[in-house]
Symmetry: D2
Subunit: 135 residues, 4 copies
Amino acid sequence: MIVHERPVHFEDVDAAGIVFFGTFLNYCHEAMERLFEGADGGYVGLITRRKIGFPAVKVVAEYKAPLRYGDVARIEVTVPRIGTTSATLRYAFSRAVDGVHVATIDHVVVSSDLATMTKLPLPRDCRAVLEAHAT
Amino acid sequence: MIVHERPVHFEDVDAAGIVFFGTFLNYCHEAMERLFEGADGGYVGLITRRKIGFPAVKVVAEYKAPLRYGDVARIEVTVPRIGTTSATLRYAFSRAVDGVHVATIDHVVVSSDLATMTKLPLPRDCRAVLEAHAT
Amino acid sequence: MIVHERPVHFEDVDAAGIVFFGTFLNYCHEAMERLFEGADGGYVGLITRRKIGFPAVKVVAEYKAPLRYGDVARIEVTVPRIGTTSATLRYAFSRAVDGVHVATIDHVVVSSDLATMTKLPLPRDCRAVLEAHAT
Amino acid sequence: MIVHERPVHFEDVDAAGIVFFGTFLNYCHEAMERLFEGADGGYVGLITRRKIGFPAVKVVAEYKAPLRYGDVARIEVTVPRIGTTSATLRYAFSRAVDGVHVATIDHVVVSSDLATMTKLPLPRDCRAVLEAHAT
């Protein structure tokens, strides 16, 4: 498990005064990039040098409580499933201040050649990173 | 069914050159606002005057093909389920130019008092709008 | 002059309840894309096929009144200056409902080869578009 | 002077592959929030408890070099001007890796009552923060 904490930004809220539901996926991606810091060149190296990406093929998000400006999101990332070319990342969101559960998001990604957008076996170093956080 | 078409904006893509997976939910929200044009004061009236919102409690998104800058997303919105306080909206995304299926997103919303963030029975006019597009 | 009207989106506001000051530049870019519809392949064709872009080198924005959710921004675009490789676009923002002046933004762009990020003479068709809206 | 370093996020780039020009203002706001950490309750306290904000009335941005995914923006914040109700913040952007100058942005903000959107004298603690970084 890795933990990514990040404050809600001023512009992350919507006209209802809570973090926009789509913006949770921006937070997930940040947390995923943290996870892949252990891969060769990190997520940046994957995208810009190795031309490998992990586009989402499925997301299942359950929202339990809102986040507001002033909150810090605490995001625990684990990896409940690792396949040949894909993996599922799970992000458990809570409010850092009091631990209130905010959301759980499952994110299925597929290792992909960015030039052709075809799937690739998970690179060895990425698999190692995922396995280190498998549940 | 309503249909919402919108071009991919210049800044909607990510470093992999495709529309960011979270940004699909921005498109869904736009389409939902279109759907609620038939309610009293539209979605704007709900939020700003009636202080009623429809926060997401669940999203299930399946991504089948990427969208890129230059594409126009065609989004067909239907309502597969209507409950007492909640409803499920379904967004079928395709590329307008060739009809290629891009994504299907189910979005469960709960009618909520924005002051207290507690659930409310669906207002009558909102229910009517949803029923008009029920499947 | 071209006029681009667009409603404030639900997620365009910030924690102060007004359109985030940076988001005005997203609206400007949309309006610029409208302006370039008259160029060969439009702005999309410039970016994706011709590999020519118009990155900003300077922006001067004066904000006079806020925009809120429910407002429609009316943006009048003119071109006060056209040079060899650069041009200045001016966006006059008002609220569509009552004409209240909201902001004036000057946006200096430079015609650029996207591969090398070096400046290029304005393509003939782009110059024609700009001249059609010169003031 | 305070220094705010932040990596370019995966979704901060546009279809030209560089950080969208409007997104620089998101980075500025982040840096401003860092600056105001020294105020009572920080920027969050200003907005949510004290109902005081600092909306922009003017921005002058000069862009000299692009930022790309993989870059870390280094933002030096100073305060070249402090008035009765307003102040000018200056953000000097460089690339952290090599110090290349990226942009300079001047941001004039006005201390404002968020309920009425009328200007207020700079609160004493905010003035102290600004003076600590005056140039």
